[in-house]
């Protein structure tokens, strides 16, 4: 089989193969060159962008949060720099052991550990969490000496929020806290993720929340060159942050202090307005809390205490709680009667001590009645019978339409979050409210109108609504939007004041308004609030009110059970000639309006008009005659707290 190949046949074949190989190599090299050409010339822009994207990253520069000051420039919220000890769990093998080791030379309490764990749980977007905040210089020095032992643990200088006045005005000022996952989602939804990329805090309540956008500022960006490992090599370009604006509030913190002190241990709310502008002068919800507790993340213990207390210190009673207005509704019903033509200024009726309707006898508080009563007297002595009859004559929808103009039952538009609407009852309201029940439940009964006539029954209004309503009377029927913001000042010192915002003008005859005001002014001179305003060097208009907490069907009203006592109301304005302040005071379970609420109002008005600073609780005037407040035990509807409930 095997033949001897021709001489040189193998070699000859080799040359052909060599040529083929050379050709192959040539094709290979051209292929490579084309590939590189395609990458470096044709797709250069694309790959250049990718390389730049690799190399350049943007570091957020967190803007400094704006300060909050009161109308006189007193600081209510400010920033300070403090050192925090932060752990990055991803860099630490055993977090608990590390904390144990740290606690040997830095005080770490149980609540610090709790807070640390909560923080990690709620903030998955961040990789490090503080185990201790506000380190002393000595603690920082001690840690620095041991630092080499702790990878993944470091001291950071952070900006903290400080509320120098503590609990004072906390429902108004609010607080900031760490951005939670929930907040982060909301920020994402508002398309503001970039602006919050470096921020740790966000306003959670009060002014801090409402004016978050102004206070936060605009995050700056530093373009840095970084390595693949994320290490920053150098800064390329910086767009500085725009600091948050300073917020100037209309409240006077000194007045606030007097108002809060006046409440003492009592629960309740007070809203004082400048009737001509709607500026909020004092905004009280008692009890208060210390907003500083929230800044670094609240400890479990503090949270439990605030959240489960039956005094509900976190509830903002001034805007988020609605109460039946009691007799404070009477001036508004009176105006409805006059302006609708159902009553005239000269109209007089004889009060027999009650009003019979549909088989029910609606009693007056004063046995045998108040005698002959006109509009003026009905307000001064707070005659129930007069308003039973008037409400019945007007009908519920006329009442709702008229007193609704004062903002009752609708959002006042105050720049404080969580405001509730309260309840302004009408036939339409009842249909809607009981839509799920049968037609019988949705029907409005005449007897219900009669209860509403003296501020009991379905109606319920928030203190800020009542303040706004009385301020509207004081401002001759012009309703201004209540507002706590007075001006904002940006980082260049540019101050922008907010003009007053007129919501509406009450339709009606000014003569009638003047008549009601004159009656209100006599309330403090000869009527139900005489004792509270005894000796006042100014004239004030006011109206007491008592809201029932429980319907006591035939039961004896029990003064001694505190949480069953009636809520005490007082609305007022002063001075009568040219009102500078209008306010609503509500004391939960304070009993008769003249007993609890009126003395608080007096103390606040004194402080405002006379600069009389009193830092103690207003006395309960137990001697005040409960003559205006009826024992309306036959009414079936309990206190209405919260929205439409």
């Amino acid at each position: 089989m095997k033949t001897f190949n021709e001489p040189n046949e193998d070699v000859g074949r080799f040359y052909i193969r060599l040529l083929a190989a050379a050709l192959f190599v040539l094709v290979g090299c051209v292929l490579l060159a084309l590939r590189i050409y395609s990458l470096q010339v044709e797709s250069y822009d694309y790959y250049y962008r990718l390389a730049e994207g690799n190399r350049i990253s943007m570091m957020p520069i967190v803007p400094q949060r704006g300060n909050i000051i009161d109308r006189n420039g007193v600081t209510l919220a400010r920033n300070f720099v403090a050192y925090t000890l932060e752990i990055t769990p991803s860099l630490v093998a055993d977090v608990e052991k590390t904390i144990d080791a740290l606690s040997e030379f830095i005080a770490i309490e149980k609540k610090d550990r709790e807070r640390f764990r909560n923080f990690l749980r709620d903030n998955r977007r961040l990789d490090s969490a503080p185990i201790r905040t506000r380190l002393s210089d000595e603690e920082v020095a001690r840690f620095m000496g041991q630092r080499y032992r702790f990878t993944g643990v470091d001291v950071q200088a952070r900006l903290f929020r400080d509320y120098p006045n503590g609990t004072l005005g906390s429902h108004l000022i609010g607080y900031i806290s760490r951005i939670s996952d929930l907040d982060a989602e909301k920020i994402e939804a508002r398309d503001e993720a970039a602006n919050y990329s470096g921020s740790m805090y966000i306003g959670k309540s009060g002014v801090e929340a409402v004016y978050e956008a102004d206070l936060h500022g605009i995050t700056g960006v530093e373009h840095v060159e970084n390595t693949a490992g994320g290490k920053v090599v150098r800064s390329l370009k910086t767009e500085p942050a725009t600091p948050g604006k300073d917020i100037e509030l209309s409240i006077d913190i000194e007045l606030q202090k007097v108002a809060e002190a006046a409440f003492g241990e009592r629960r309740g709310a007070l809203v004082a307005l400048d009737p001509s502008t709607g500026e909020v002068l004092a905004f009280v919800s008692m009890p208060t809390f210390d907003p500083n507790l929230f800044v670094d993340g609240i400890s479990n213990q503090d949270w439990r205490m605030l959240n489960s207390s039956e005094n509900k210190p976190l509830l903002n009673r001034a805007v988020a709680s609605a109460y039946p207005p009691g007799s404070t509704i009477k001036p508004f019903i009176a105006l409805a009667g006059l302006n609708s033509g159902k009553r005239t200024l000269t109209y007089k009726m004889s009060d027999p001590g009650g009003f019979s309707y549909g088989g029910h006898y609606f009693k007056d508080d004063k046995k045998g009645g108040h005698g002959v009563v006109d509009i003026h007297k009905s307000i001064v002595v707070s005659c129930n019978t007069f308003y039973y009859v008037l409400a019945n004559d007007l009908g519920i929808d006329t009442i709702a339409k008229f007193i609704g103009q004062f903002g009752l039952g609708s959002l006042s538009g105050i720049d404080i979050p969580d405001e509730k609407e309260g309840v302004l009852p009408s036939t339409a309201w009842k249909r809607k409210r009981f839509a799920k029940l049968g037609p019988a439940a949705q029907k409005w009964y005449g007897g219900e109108t009669i209860s509403v006539g003296i501020g009991q029954g379905y109606n319920a209004y928030t203190p800020v609504q009542m303040a706004s309503a009385i301020a509207t009377i004081a401002n001759s029927g012009k309703r201004m939007r209540p507002r706590v913001l007075r001006a904002v000042t940006d980082s260049h010192g540019q101050r922008e004041e907010l003009p007053p915002d007129e919501v509406t003008v009450i339709s009606g005859n000014p003569e009638f308004l003047a008549a009601v005001r004159s009656a209100l002014e006599d309330v403090t001179r000869f009527g139900t609030a005489t004792r509270a305003f005894a000796g006042a060097p100014y004239r004030a208009g006011g109206k007491t009110g008592t809201a029932q907490v429980y319907s006591l069907k035939g039961q004896q009203y029990d003064k001694s059970v505190e949480h069953k006592r009636d809520h005490s109301w007082f609305i007022a304005y002063a001075p009568a000639e040219e009102p500078k302040i209008a306010l609503a005071v509500m004391v939960e379970n304070g009993g008769f309006g003249a007993v609890s609420a009126a003395p608080i109002a007096r103390q606040v008005i004194d402080a405002f008009l006379l600069k009389k600073r009193v830092d103690k609780p207003a006395p309960e005037d137990s001697g005040a005659e409960p003559e205006d407040e009826g024992d309306n035990g036959h009414l079936d509807h309990g206190a209405m707290q919260g929205e439409g409930d």
Binding site: L18, C29, R35, Y37, L39, Y48, R55, T227
Partner: protein, 380 residues
Amino acid sequence: MIQRRPFRITQLLSALVRPLDPPLLLILAALLTYGTVIMGSAAPDRLGNQAIFISLSLFGMWVIAFIPTRRLLSLAPLFYVIGVALLLAVHLYGTEAKGAKRWLDIGPIHRIQPSEIMKIAIPLILAWFFQKREHFISWGEFLVAVLLLAGPIYLIAKQPDLGTAILVCSSGLFVIFFAGLPWKLIVPVALVGVAVIIAIGIFGGDWCKPDIVWPGLKDYQKERVCTLLDPNRDPLGKGFHTIQSTIAIGSGGFAGKGWKQGTQTQLAFLPERHTDFVFAVLSEELGLVGVLILLGLYVALLTRGFIIAATAQTLGAKLLAASTTMVFFTYIFVNIGMVSGILPVVGVPLPFISYGGTAVVTLCLGIGILMGISRSRQER
């Protein structure tokens, strides 16, 4: 006396250098210089080590160059037997590192890698064998050659060391090809190969979809092959290398970002930047211009290799020279191909540029063989 002294030095130098095939030496010097420049940017701290490797390699090259080719070929069976024995030893007693068993610890020589020896031993043994069978080369000879090749390849691929296996295998196949393997055999295999590559190009994406089951392969094996084909499937793992090297090359543009100015390189986005992926450093910092200079040097090297092969005196020498040249090409093509993303990533260094002792020693020994063949040719 004084006049003769410079003359003597030149004479000595010429005696030392002339056997080294001056054109090849020149090209080698240019490549090594270029490589040093690149290394000065990619890993300046390793320049010292690389200088030691290069010096040792050049000495080895010089020694090999002085061995007559006939003598070298006659030693081939010995090299081959030693090489295979060492490969078996690796298989039995080898040191494991990074999941592969490639090294032997022998006394003071830490970590000897026998598969590298095969890169020299395989072409030698096959060239020696075909030389022996000159004028009688037929199917039987090719079968024996394939068997000689298959054993070591199996052992190397099992380590596993895909890059070396490819290089060793190709070195053997080149010898067989140049020895005259019939086109009847080559053409169908080449056609099937091309068809498979085209099919992968068109259908590769479909085949790698999650619900497609590959007969006989487990899911992770399929995933590995698929990542090899499409690095974007695993951008943080195996695909990361190719993605970053492609970005480095592309962003270099025509003129490059400048020496030591490559952001991908200097900011460590490019992995393995001083070893297998050094081509990306060159491309990023010196641009298309730098790439074409490198390719030009390589083409010169290959051309010189082909000329030596063409003019070698014996069949054995011709086969050895031609296959050695083609192995250089294989290094170049596979490395640049994988770094630029057209070939899967297998561990093949860029000849004379990549950092690493083993590679530069083997490559310089190859150059030494070419030089020896060139010298033997002149001596005739």
